[in-house]
């Protein structure tokens, strides 16, 4: 009986205890998940959803991936694991491809849910909606640049579980249709967004107009220059824009750029805060306080959980804050393409009639050039974070032989001397030794002068500028030039060139295609734009033709758009040692190609538009493949 009593009471316990508290105990709201209504009833929570969408913005060049800013032989990559990039012959057809329709779907979902929200005020809602549309248009712009025309999905598609998904499969739009979409979205949202030049990391009217001007310019040049490569097109115009539309797009690009220039979008202008022009151009990229030039940026914050290591990867190796640095080494071709202050081109004068030119100071050879040179590149004899760099390759003796070392700052005994002296700089250059300035240069643009920026534990919060005022000016100049308004083009170019310290103003008659090309090349280098310039002008297969560059060729044709860019070259400073000679202790320069540069890049016609992966094609048989693949 005792046993039964125990069992019965146990059963009773079971039956009673649960029924009563059921509703209270088990039916609790989850504390880790927010429902849709909760998200879209509070502006700050909705903003955090939008922030995630901002964070997934697609950039071709990123400061948190250093190599992406310095592609296409504008620089040598001084990292042993990256040398193969200079030893192969080109790129696969799939390179640079993107196809993230998951991102587009999430933007579409955000748009639909935000539209349906009832708790948000109209002002907040309309700004959020406009921002999401800006992000969606930006991603379509990125898609069309890389893939050509793509399916245009403007709603969050739902699968009905019927077993047949074919109604979800959309064909590719024409390339022009995607550009038209980007332009029309920019037009539609520009007045919904704030015209506030102080807001940099969120979409503004300025950002929408800058995107419009860039997109229209790209579309226009594809229409015009696409005729040079008739093979790069598809019969359905998924790739290729009819030449007849060029003028229309150029006009759109010019108008959008002029809206910004006229101040319709807020007080934007060229950054001109510092009297020293090189310092000024350098500060443009790291000065985040009241910077009138930046229009739309990817922002970072030290201590805020979002930092990048660009400075750590690229800081001068000598005196670096970590045992690394020096990765991006701008090429000789890039350095010599900066004009003299009077606006003429000249190679770096390193020899005259076969004999070397001797310089008193190591940096004299770079004197009198475009102020952007010293701001974009760390030259021998300059300094970073007030520490001088030590870039020199060795000692040249009287008979022309070279004494050098194979470790940084190595010391050796020179002939006729008894004591060891340093025979190579602490920054190299040493052929094949990673992190030294193997081209003779380091990059300066986007390097952060703050203490700690090169430490892994701190890192840098310099922002990445996606759109800036100088590009808008150059867009306007190019569009004006193509529309036959050369004087106007010269006016815009001169604004950019005056800031670089170039004393001779261009006239309308001076402006030609090579000028436009050159100005964008030097002004916008290492900003992820050069590649798309090469593509839209259909120049990539000409300057990346797979042929090696000879030493005599490398200093020719400076400023010519079709100059070969298949390999980076170097120029190394040497100290002349010949006691008693008037040139003793002076500097001379030698041009060379690094032993690690064995390949020559070849851009195939099939590279103009990235391959759509077979997986995507399998899922959607209505897609056509890109040309030449």
């Amino acid at each position: 009986m005792k046993k039964h009593l125990f069992s019965i009471s146990f059963i009773l316990l079971f039956i009673t205890s649960c029924t009563k508290d059921d509703a209270l105990f088990l039916d609790r709201p989850p504390s880790s998940i927010l429902t849709q209504e909760q998200v879209f009833s509070d502006p700050s929570v909705a903003l955090s959803v939008l922030a995630d969408l901002y964070n997934r913005y697609e950039d071709f060049a990123r400061l948190d991936d250093w190599a992406t800013v310095a592609r296409f032989n504008i620089a040598f990559w001084s990292e042993a694991g990256r040398y193969p990039e200079f030893q192969n012959g080109g790129w696969g057809f799939g390179a640079w491809g993107i196809w993230d329709y998951g991102y587009i779907r999430e933007i579409n979902l955000f748009l639909e849910r935000c539209e349906a929200a009832t708790e948000l005020t109209d002002a907040v809602k309309s700004r959020f909606l406009a921002e999401a549309r800006f992000l969606r248009a930006s991603y379509y712009f990125e898609l069309v640049k890389r893939m050509g025309g793509v399916p245009l999905i403007l709603e969050a598609q739902e699968y009905d579980f019927s077993g047949d998904a074919s109604y979800l499969q959309q064909p590719r739009e024409t390339e022009a249709a995607i550009y038209d979409f980007v332009i029309s979205e920019a037009e539609a949202i520009k007045d919904l967004l704030p015209a506030d030049a102080g807001s940099k990391s969120r979409a503004t009217k300025g950002a929408a107009l800058a995107m419009e001007s860039r997109a229209a310019l790209y579309a226009a040049s594809i229409a015009k220059y696409g005729q040079n490569t008739p093979q790069v097109s598809l019969p359905g115009n998924e790739v290729g824009i009819p030449a007849s539309r060029a003028d229309e797009y150029y006009t759109t690009a010019l108008n959008a750029a002029q809206s910004i220039i006229n101040g319709d979008a807020g007080a934007y202008g060229l950054y001109n805060k510092k009297p020293d022009l090189s310092e000024n151009f350098e500060a443009l990229f790291y000065d985040k306080a009241n910077n009138p030039e930046a229009i739309f940026v990817e922002d970072y914050q030290v201590g805020g959980g979002k930092v990048h290591y660009f400075t750590g990867w690229n800081q001068p190796r000598f005196g670096a804050e970590e045992e690394e640095g020096g990765r991006i080494n701008p090429s000789l071709q890039f350095v010599q393409s900066f004009e003299l202050l009077d606006g003429t081109y000249a190679p770096l004068p390193n020899q005259e009639g076969g004999s070397p030119i001797y310089y008193d100071n190591i940096d004299d050879i770079f004197e009198g050039r475009d102020a952007r040179l010293a701001a974009t590149v760390i030259l021998p004899g300059s300094s970073f974070k007030s520490k001088p760099v030590d870039i020199w390759a060795g000692v040249v003796l009287e008979d022309g032989s070279i004494v050098t070392g194979d470790s940084r700052g190595q010391e050796k005994t020179l002939p006729g001397a008894s004591q060891q002296v340093q025979v190579v700089g602490f920054d190299g250059p040493i052929d094949g030794l990673e992190f030294t300035a193997q081209s003779g240069f380091y990059i300066r643009k986007y390097q952060d002068p703050t203490v700690g920026s090169g430490r892994r534990g701190t890192q840098s919060d310099v922002w990445f500028i996606r759109y800036r005022y100088a590009e808008v000016l150059l867009n306007a100049a190019e569009a004006a030039f193509e529309l036959g308004q050369a004087d106007l083009a010269a006016d815009y170019l001169n604004q950019v060139r005056a800031r670089a310290g170039i004393t001779t103003a261009l006239t309308g008659a001076d402006v030609d295609f090579d000028r436009i090309y050159h100005e964008r090349y030097v002004e916008l280098a290492f900003e992820g734009l050069h590649f798309f310039d090469l593509k839209r002008w259909r120049l990539a297969h000409i300057i990346l033709d797979g042929n090696p560059i000879s030493e005599s060729e490398v200093t020719q044709d400076i400023g010519v758009a079709t100059k070969r860019e298949t390999q980076p070259y170097s120029i190394w400073p040497y100290k002349y040692h010949n006691p008693g000679d008037p040139n003793d202790g002076k500097w001379l320069y030698k041009i060379l190609r690094l032993s690690r540069v064995t390949g020559a890049d070849r851009f195939q016609l099939g590279n103009y538009y990235s391959e759509i992966s077979q997986n995507v094609l399998n899922n959607n048989p209505r897609l056509v493949r890109n040309p030449n693949q």
Binding site: G89, G90, P548, G599
Partner: protein, 230 residues
């Protein structure tokens, strides 16, 4: 003892039977041949010119890329079946047949694909003296009239291995040099210096070929690779 026999028997059964179920039939047909002009193979750069084979009738349709080798030959191991052969527009230094070619593969098949090149390189001659490889050739323009295209450059390429072409970097080209004068296509002479590289062992021979770049055409046409003894 008995148990052992059973184990052996069981093992033998397993070996004999298990594989049959999940074994696929292997591809059984070699599809080989050359791209030719009037019976003469057209040499091109390795792995840079190809055509596509499509096999209809299956769920997903993806092309089988067949690359053309340096000597103009190709070879592909396939399942017997029906295929469609197509050249991509603009592929190769020639005008390819624009019509799709239907193939019914049943066992090995040899097919010479007739194409019309813009130019043919005739009578190539290679020689060597004093660290310089010299060559001469003449060009025979095949496509004339409206679709004729200019010669952009004529290049002599040498390499240490038998893989020689102008566009695959150090893999295909040790050194190359363009003809200085291509005004007379019936007599073109070229020469290229053999670069000295102390890090590589001496060898008594090099491989050379001449390539012609035609304006507006991506792929170059070549001569056959020639071994030049020093």
């Amino acid at each position: 003892m008995k148990a052992q026999i059973y184990i052996l028997l069981f093992g033998a059964l397993l070996l004999a039977s298990a594989c049959e179920l999940d074994n696929f039939q292997e591809p059984d047909a070699f599809f080989t041949g050359h791209i030719v002009y009037q019976g003469e193979p057209i040499p091109v750069a390795r792995n840079q010119v190809w055509f596509e084979l499509w096999q209809p009738g299956f769920g997903l349709s993806a092309p089988i890329d067949v690359a053309i080798a340096q000597d103009g030959s190709y070879s592909s191991r396939l399942f017997s079946g029906q295929y469609q052969l197509a050249f991509l527009p603009g592929e190769g230094p020639f005008r390819a047949p624009t019509d799709t070619i239907f193939l019914d593969l049943n066992g090995d098949e040899i097919m010479e694909l007739e194409v019309t090149p813009y130019y043919m390189i005739r009578t190539p001659q290679f020689s060597h003296s004093g660290g310089t490889v010299s060559a001469s050739c003449s060009l025979d323009q095949i496509i004339t009239g409206d679709e004729a295209r200019e010669v952009e450059r004529v290049t002599l390429i040498i390499n240490r291995t038998q893989f020689v072409d102008a566009n695959s970097g150090g893999e295909g080209s040790l050194a190359q040099s363009n003809a200085a004068d291509i005004s007379d296509l019936s007599r073109i002479s070229l020469s290229v210096d053999i670069p000295e590289d102390a890090k590589k062992p001496d060898q008594g021979y090099y491989f050379a070929r001449i390539g012609v770049k035609i304006a507006g055409v991506e792929d170059m046409i070549y001569t056959q690779v020639e071994k030049v003894s020093l």
